[in-house]
């Protein structure tokens, strides 16, 4: 009950704090944009895809942007856990659920903003999606589900991390996750031993759903696979976060 009331207050705090961490904010915006320019103008010419390469690569860039942005949640949570803030909150009857939900909420809002900015640059450099309003809505829905799930995973990682530095290490790892998937290069051009991982890791169905939905191509059951992945990741993190939080605050 009290956690439900504290949640929006703490989400506001999270948003304020992340908007003021200029360094992290700039990196989470510049990095995807630079990577997009890099892929489109430098590698793009050499990669053969069915559509214009910009159009092929943008969903992957969006995913990369969101996964990195969401992974910063780990740093925020780790910061709170290593300082006295959590004790004060708990002494005010504001518990782990409120704090973690607030971090995830702030992360989601922050990432929607950076997604919009990356999308704007993409449109500028020739990204031409054909989707109608419904396709946009569905594509955005998958992306939001991914952001929420990834933020929850990161929050759990933040509870495990002993230091904020360890938590930043996780954001680095996350940056590489989209590469062995169909984000930037079609999977069938990769060596055979990578196919299994690249096709079945969560990034692939998510990217392909977003791509298919935005480009108005047939997507089959891809979006459902994507949402199922997000659901599983979210539930697993929420389930793990309870005991992790209690372990850290004994």
């Amino acid at each position: 009950m009290s956690d439900l009331l504290a949640w929006p207050v703490l989400a506001g705090r999270g948003l304020r704090l992340s908007m003021r961490n200029l360094e992290a904010l700039l990196i989470s915006l510049m990095l995807p944009v630079l990577l997009m320019l890099l892929f489109v103008y430098i590698f793009g010419g050499a990669i053969r895809t069915d559509t214009d390469y910009v159009t092929y690569a943008v969903p992957g860039v969006l995913l990369l942007c969101c996964s990195y942005g969401a992974s910063l949640t780990a740093v925020g949570v780790a910061e709170d856990m290593t300082q006295g803030v959590v004790d004060r909150f708990r002494s005010m009857d504001v518990g782990g659920p409120a704090l973690l939900a607030a971090h995830v909420t702030a992360s989601t809002l922050r990432n929607l903003l950076s997604t919009a900015m990356v999308m704007a640059v993409a449109l500028l450099i020739g990204f031409r999606p054909d989707a109608g309003p419904l396709g946009w809505l569905a594509g955005l829905g998958v992306l939001v589900a991914f952001i929420v799930a990834m933020s929850a995973v990161s929050a759990a990682v933040g509870l495990v991390a002993k230091t904020t530095e360890a938590a930043s290490g996780f954001t680095f790892f996350v940056l590489f996750l989209p590469y062995p998937s169909s984000a930037f290069v079609p999977v069938d051009t990769m060596p055979g031993w990578l196919h299994g991982f690249a096709e079945h890791q969560p990034a692939t169905p998510i990217i392909e759903s977003v791509r298919g939905l935005l480009l108005d191509q047939p997507v089959g059951d891809r979006p459902w696979t994507a949402l199922a992945w997000c659901g599983v990741l979210l539930l697993a993190s929420v389930a793990l976060s309870g005991p992790l939080f209690r372990r850290r605050t004994r």
Partner: protein
């Protein structure tokens, strides 16, 4: 309900793994009373405060705050307490006003109420000029004052202050003492921890001396001071024989000794007359004492005297 003590513990014990931190703490703090938990680093002060503030469960014993059990009634306890921990719990990247408004909102004040309360507290804690600056730009003393203010957005019945001035420079410490003094004057119950006798003396009605997980002495500052001298006279003797003789002459009055360096200490009020009479008593021939020094009693002296664990352990 109101004759119940604000804080009452019985046989509180706590271990972390194989380390026993608290071995049975019995405390009783009346409403409106200020108790200082005085003890060196590692004595278990923070652990005690964390148990009383419902953050850690005790392994044994009970604790009640305003009549509510800290384990069974944790929620009720949290509604009447405020905790200002050993390490500042304010957000560096929010302004002072934002931190306070957030705390007020978490305590269910409405937005306008929160704004008003934050402004009041900023004024009261001498932070009005820095209200809209990020905490990252605050000095250590300002940060502590803000941290304390954050605990007072709704008037709590019991306030816990864990080492409120550790790490502050003398001026900020004075300022902090003034604010804490004003707070205790409002009649709220306060349990504060400190490593400094002077601080306990300044701020508290009563002092509980914590050592090795136990309360080894308890009383008003005056009562404790009667048992501990204001100063120590430390002497170095000229020979081992002189050292043994002085030891024999002083007997139980020796508070510290170091036989390797032939030095010993004895309590004094620090006055010239008393020091002179002590020296005359030990060394009527004026050959036995090589050198002497008078120094203020330290927490060590208080412990050594009150715990009875005199002698070699402490060194001189």
């Amino acid at each position: 309900m109101h004759d119940e003590p604000a804080i009452e513990t019985a046989g509180l014990s706590k271990s972390y793994g194989r380390v026993t931190v608290l071995k049975g703490i019995d405390l009783r703090v009346a409403r409106g009373e200020v108790l200082a938990l005085l003890g060196p680093n590692g004595a278990g002060k923070t652990t005690t405060v964390r148990i009383l503030a419902t953050l850690t469960r005790p392994d044994g014993g009970t604790a009640r705050i305003a009549g509510h059990d800290v384990v069974a009634d944790a929620r009720r306890v949290r509604r009447v307490i405020s905790l200002t921990g050993q390490y500042a719990a304010v957000d560096e990247n929010q302004t002072g006003a934002e931190n306070l408004r957030m705390m007020a909102r978490l305590r269910r004040l409405s937005r306008p109420q929160a704004r008003r309360r934050a402004a009041e507290l900023l004024e009261r804690f001498d932070l009005a000029d820095a209200a809209d600056r990020r905490v990252a730009t605050y000095s250590g003393g300002m940060r502590r004052r803000l941290d304390l203010a954050c605990g007072l957005v709704t008037d709590p019945e019991v306030v816990f202050l864990d080492e409120p001035t550790t790490g502050l420079d003398p001026r900020s410490r004075q300022a902090m003492w003034r604010v804490v003094g004003e707070l205790t004057a409002t009649g709220v119950t306060v349990l504060l921890t400190t490593q400094y006798l002077e601080e306990a003396d300044r701020l508290a009605d009563r002092i509980a001396l914590l050592d090795g997980g136990r309360v080894v002495a308890e009383g008003t500052a005056a009562e404790l001071k009667d048992r501990v001298a204001a100063a120590q006279l430390t002497m170095v003797l000229t020979s081992t024989d002189a050292f043994e003789a002085a030891l024999h002459a002083l007997g139980g009055r020796v508070t510290q000794l170091d036989s390797a360096r032939r030095s010993l200490a004895v309590a004094t009020d620090g006055s010239a007359a008393h020091v002179r009479s002590l020296l005359d008593e030990i060394d009527p021939g004026r050959t036995a004492v090589e050198s002497f020094a008078v120094r203020e009693a330290t927490l060590d002296d208080v412990f050594l005297t009150l715990t009875g664990t005199t002698k070699e352990a402490a060194g001189v």
